[in-house]
């Protein structure tokens, strides 16, 4: 018997990563390469947050939490959303604590999408949106965002792809992999299209805190009449350097949060208790750590941009997240070739833009969530590498 023949049709619709070969290569060289290819903070979780987790263990708080998350934590999330984004959510009814932002993304898609529904995804973007839509039986409708426009979503592009079958738009800004943000002015026409068409929005705002001044994060849910049409996904992974704790949350209309909790209670039961206790401390007293880390990312961001301009690679200024997304077409290499050769010749790992959708071809993602020492070394190597290609 061939076990593969037993796989569900739906799982077969998820294509294996196009850059599998590059992944394997980079993994084999782990330890001997400088890695600017990691989509997570290099900082260890600030100690007072870790310590709160340890204290919860000492107190024997090792049981299941309520399905939706400890009310104490949801209260803190409600305060946080108010404090940071001027969004008012009921802790009891409009917030669900999830296992990282990823669970929330999968869950909200499953809660909203019927088989055959179309879901609009602006690319390049985080890789799981498309996969989760496919798993839910939905049809991903990709918008290839324009690099000339800093990979922002435009109302024109959005209007063109909305059909009677469209259910949902999923977007993530500040964006992984491009570092693009959408300002209030950029979002307003999008919000108007959403309101006219009656579709819903999932707004993945995991990187919201990593927006570099003078730019400011704005959530599409903040516009009049948009809160009921938007499910905001956020979490502590990126802002508080808590990726391994697996804590995210969804905030949105109570009916949708209740539906999401129906899935969550059968699939996940509840998010880890220890992580929720640590996260309470993070939201209560952690703002100072976030701003220190943001300042540090900002300095690293400028080192990367300086090096990119020195080696003549075009890059729009990324104002969010911890990625730069330069165009490498001037080297006449595909993004996979560029990354493979750069890895082999200079022992630096970065990610081909094609991993994040077709429109990422011709670009590479450089993560500056690494030490200044490593970034500086890697950038010198990049300058040397590119100059040999020109």
């Amino acid at each position: 018997m061939n076990p593969e023949s037993k796989l569900s049709e739906i799982v077969k619709t998820i294509p294996p990563s196009a850059i599998r070969k590059f992944f394997d290569l980079a993994n084999e060289m782990k330890g001997e390469v400088i890695s600017l290819s990691i989509g997570e903070p290099d900082f260890v979780t600030p100690w007072p947050i870790c310590e709160a987790g340890i204290f919860s263990l000492e107190q024997g708080k090792t049981h299941y939490s309520p399905n939706t998350g400890y009310i104490e934590f949801r209260d803190e999330i409600a305060k946080y959303m108010k404090r940071k984004f001027s969004l008012t959510y009921s802790a009891k009814e409009e917030i669900l604590v999830t296992v990282g932002g990823s669970e929330a993304i999968d869950n909200v898609i499953r809660s909203l999408v019927n088989p055959g529904d179309e879901v609009i995804i602006p690319e390049p973007c985080f890789v799981s949106y498309k996969a989760c839509v496919l798993l839910a039986g939905g049809i991903p409708v990709v918008i290839n965002c324009n690099p000339e426009n800093g990979f922002k979503l435009t109302a024109d592009d959005l209007t063109k792809v909305i059909s009677p079958k469209t259910k949902l738009l999923i977007m993530g800004y500040p964006n992984n992999p491009t570092g693009a943000i959408m300002s209030k002015e950029d979002l307003e026409p999008i919000a108007n299209v959403i309101k006219e068409s009656g579709i819903m929005v999932v707004s993945d705002e995991l990187y919201a805190e990593l927006t570099y001044q003078p730019a400011e994060h704005y959530s599409i849910a903040q516009f009049d009449d948009m809160k009921d049409r938007t499910i905001v996904i956020n979490g502590l992974s990126k802002a508080f350097a808590m990726t391994g704790w697996r804590i995210g949350f969804a905030a949105g209309p109570s009916e949708i949060i209740a539906a999401m909790n129906r899935i969550h209670q059968y699939v996940i039961m509840s998010s880890p208790s220890i992580s929720q206790y640590a996260a309470i401390e993070a939201l209560r007293n952690g703002d100072v750590f976030v701003s220190e880390m943001r300042d540090e990312y900002n300095r690293r961001r400028r080192i990367v941009l300086n090096a990119l301009s020195r080696c003549g690679l075009d890059c729009f200024e990324p104002l969010g997240a911890f990625y730069a997304f330069p165009c490498i077409r001037s080297t006449n290499l595909t993004s996979s070739e560029f990354c493979e050769q750069f890895l082999m010749e200079e022992k630096v790992a970065i990610v081909p833009g094609s991993a994040f959708g077709e429109s990422g071809e011709g670009f590479v993602r450089i993560s500056y969530a690494a030490s200044i020492e490593n970034i500086t070394k890697a950038m010198e190597k990049l300058v040397a590498f590119v100059s040999r290609r020109k």
């Binding site: 992944f23 980079a26 330890g31 890695s35 990691i38 300042d295 300095r299």
Partner: protein, 162 residues
């Protein structure tokens, strides 16, 4: 944080940063940073540039002690005069005026326990205004001025995370 404070805190963490390095990180003109640093030095806000050394990993033998000193303040001079007499000894690395159960905290470095003990009993304790001393030897340095001395930093992150 204003630019001046940012320059100071960057140099506090890494004195080897050049004006050029800082200029890139703050996205400003290198000449402006050089000027600002020169001014900070002139104003004695930046007093000098030193390295953080873990002497335990070298052949040099040394001991460090923290000494609590109780003193009688002198009329018209307060603690400053006696503090000056004490901190002027080259063996005294740090000297602080304290609140609480004693008055000065001094940190002394010497080659041996005996040398430090002798220094305290011969030079510090006999001073007229010194009422009492208590010597505490440092056995192990875990963290000094924000730097953790020995901590296994294992980089075990995944090679690629999308």
């Amino acid at each position: 944080m204003n630019q001046k404070t940012e320059i100071i805190s960057l140099l506090e963490n890494n004195a080897k940063l050049t004006a050029q390095d800082i200029a890139i990180q703050l996205n400003v003109d290198p000449a402006q940073i050089a000027e600002e640093i020169a001014l900070l030095e002139k104003q004695k806000i930046i007093l000098g540039y030193r390295s953080i050394i873990n002497w335990d990993l070298t052949e040099k033998d040394s001991v460090t002690a923290m000494i609590e000193v109780k003193i009688t303040p002198q009329r018209g001079q307060g603690f400053d005069r006696i503090a000056h007499r004490i901190y002027s000894f080259p063996q005294v690395k740090d000297c602080f005026l304290m609140s609480g159960g004693f008055d000065l905290m001094i940190i002394i470095e010497g080659k041996t326990l005996k040398e430090v003990a002798m220094f305290v009993s011969e030079k510090i304790a006999p001073l007229e205004s010194v009422v009492a001393t208590a010597t505490h030897f440092i056995l192990k340095k875990y963290k000094m001025q924000g730097t953790i001395y020995e901590f296994p930093l294992i980089e075990d992150r995944e090679a690629i995370v999308l």
